[in-house]
Amino acid sequence: MSGAETVFVVFSVLSFAYFVVLDLLYLTLTALAWVDLRKKLWRRNYLGLDEVFASPLTPGISVLVPAYNEEAGIVESVRSLLALRYPRHEVVVINDGSKDGTIDALVEAFDLVPVRQAIREGIATARIRTAYVSRPHPDLLVLDKENAGRSDALNAGVNAARYPYVCMIDADSLLEQDALLKIAKPLLDQPGSLVAAGGTVRVANGCRIENGQVLDVRLARNRLAVVQTLEYIRSFLVARVGWGRLNALGLISGAFGIYDRALLQTVGGLWVDTVGEDLELTLRLHRYLRERGEPYRIAFVDDPACWTEVPEDFATLGRQRRRWQRGLWESLRRHRTMIGNPRYGIVGVLVLVYFAVFEFLSPIFALLGLLLTAALWAAGVVSTGYFLSMLAVSVVLGVVLSTAALAIEELSFGRYKRRRDVLRLMAYTVVESIGYHQVHLTWRLLGYVDIVRGKTEWGEQKRRGLARPTPTAAPRP
């Protein structure tokens, strides 16, 4: 064996080990999700949501909706948010300098009147041009501010929020009627310690939607949307539930999460100079609270759902995933002291290491390692048995994990009522593992290019990343 061959074989073996560790981790998360499901399934009937709704002790929540060029859907979206089943909530729409008629549509539909609204100065944001309140809806506040990106808009919303908790969502996603009640339930059960909670994000493509509500859950026709549906199920109902059980939730999706408002102001709100603001914020909260040794909990609640539209073409999806990779890099760089640091407990030694090794570096091992092994096998350097084992741990196990996730979804929620839809999802577990996953890893690999280029083109990148291109701002699964 030549020197180069030896290096290649060592790298291939390393990749093999990488897959084995990753598989064991995912299998553990799946097992945890299964245990959680068994524990929670029947308890759902005894949550007492009616009592939560009726109780004067239920804390108020301000729903923050950043809007950039959302003229088409914003009115319907706000209407359905105002009608959410929750005893005390307000809706704060932050128009992020839209170039279309977003503001005019809102003024017209809700009879908005400009007021000199007092707004906290806690987090620095771009200038707010006008604040509007609605005559018929006292629980609606609209801020019209200069364009500075989604994070800046949300920060302005945090400054203006009236209630002790804020719920961050996207203007084009839909919250289910009971979503706030369900996500607020842990606030009542563990008052004081819960600082943030994330809910499930589901794929809305293909569903029948009327008046801002999902009426009929269907699977999209578009293949890419179907694969993402599966990806989201696996990511939310298995991975997040599993991490949540370990009390190590590393990411609350930007599309649906609630936060303690005062804490957000203390830590300075969302970081506006990153495209991975949701991940960065979750990590920063962990860091801030752990450095102070304060007892806290960041929870994942699988029951409440937010429906969002995902990209249906390769170009848009590719851009989104490359952006996530860049956002991941920015978050990891900012919090690099946490990586593997026992001072931050399980978040440091497990979650950050997972993000760094198994997410950020995944293209190197999972894609290049697999390709290299295939090449070595073709060249007769490694045995067929080894190559098949590599395929088993890299690709076939993906099918195992996805089918397990799908079974958990069917047993726990069963949102997809049509037999055909479930069978199609099952067939796509193969497509996802063989083909889609590798394409996904290629996008992540290209993300490295963006990261390197980004260093020199920061100004331009910053503008492009922050102005929210629709509909790619969908949350990462």
Partner: protein, 333 residues
């Protein structure tokens, strides 16, 4: 090679699990459809029973009995008084209450939770002593369900025990609080005692619940808590005084506007707005103009309730500050 076969077999098992889950789901859907059908058929009889029109309870068998019970439970959640009594009478007559009481002592946690939760909906006060005992169950879910049910039954005799379970951290405070709110004003004397508890969380909860349940004369015990060592208690006390609307505490609340903790000042300002009376306006005006965001914002809102004309005048002055401007604009809506 072996690894490949093992994982491939796992993948096939995964697919089988999905198919099994799908079958299960289809079965559940069909059962649900049948139940809905039965419910529609039985609804008139259920309503007749609730209205007391038809003392003859229909003879039911098997699954019909369960559906009928679910219907009654559904209605009982929104009812009080005689109609509720008729529902509990029905459940007594069918032996459902006895059955659930037996399940409350079952071995399986699930059946105990179901029984503890269900007894609240069956409406029989006979369940109260057993539910009180269930507050010591080893499962947190049984304890929470029992607490909720004691609230649903309006169990005035259980107030002390519910409070004790909450204080012993055996039941979440919010669950106990919600149950006490359902039980009503009879919980107030025990809550007044709780005001002296050593843990500030419980003193604050007590003050808050007294504010929600108490009458004006219960307010007399509260003002001393405005000088409590814990800001949480001071804020909750101010909020309670505001809800009770008792004018006797006005001066003490005005003094609380000088508290060193902003959210206590905010709470005092809101309370003064609820109580009303012009003697507080000068102090509120000062807070609205110069204090931090939350107290100033509450003070401006309070002033808008007490004396709108004053707010409109004050907003014209050069040192009005953002909160009075906002309050004035909102008054003009």
């Amino acid at each position: 090679m072996t690894l490949f076969v093992v994982i491939a077999v796992l993948a096939v098992l995964g697919a089988v699990a999905v198919l099994a889950a799908l079958e299960h789901r289809t079965w559940l859907t069909r059962r649900e459809a049948r139940r809905r059908e039965t419910a529609n058929r039985l609804r008139p009889s259920a309503l007749a029973l609730i209205d007391g029109e038809d003392p003859q309870v229909p003879t039911l068998s098997g699954p019909d009995t369960l559906v009928f019970a679910d219907l009654l439970v559904h209605y009982s959640r929104g009812l009080r008084g005689e109609a509720d009594d008729r529902i509990s009478g029905y459940f007594e007559s069918t032996g459902a209450v006895d059955r659930e009481l037996r399940h409350l002592h079952g071995v399986r946690e699930r059946s105990r939770v179901e029984a503890a939760f269900g007894l609240g909906d069956l409406g029989s006060s006979r369940a109260v002593p057993e539910l009180v005992r269930a507050l010591d169950d080893r499962s947190a879910d049984v304890r929470a369900a029992a607490t909720r049910s004691l609230g649903r039954l309006g169990a005035t005799t259980a107030v002390q025990q519910v409070i004790a379970a909450s204080v012993a951290l055996r039941v979440p405070r919010a669950v106990a609080g919600a149950a006490l709110l359902e039980i009503g004003p009879q919980a107030v004397p025990s809550l007044l005692e709780l005001l002296g508890h050593e843990d500030p969380h419980f003193r604050a909860d007590a003050a808050e619940l007294i504010g929600l349940l108490g009458a004006a004369n219960d307010a007399d015990a509260l003002p001393s808590r405005l000088r409590d060592g814990s800001p949480e208690v001071r804020a909750a006390t101010a909020a309670a005084l505001g809800r009770l609307g008792s004018g006797t505490a006005r001066d003490e609340l005005v003094a609380t506007l000088q508290d060193r903790v902003p959210y206590v000042r905010a709470s005092a300002a809101r309370a003064l707005g609820q109580i009303g009376g012009r003697t507080a306006t000068a102090a509120l005006l000062e807070v609205a103009r110069h204090d931090e965001f939350d107290p100033a914002s509450e003070a401006a809102r309070a002033l808008a309730r007490i004396d709108p004309a004053l707010v409109l005048r004050a907003a014209e002055e050069p040192d009005s500050g953002p909160h009075l401007l906002e309050a004035a604009d909102r008054l003009r809506l």
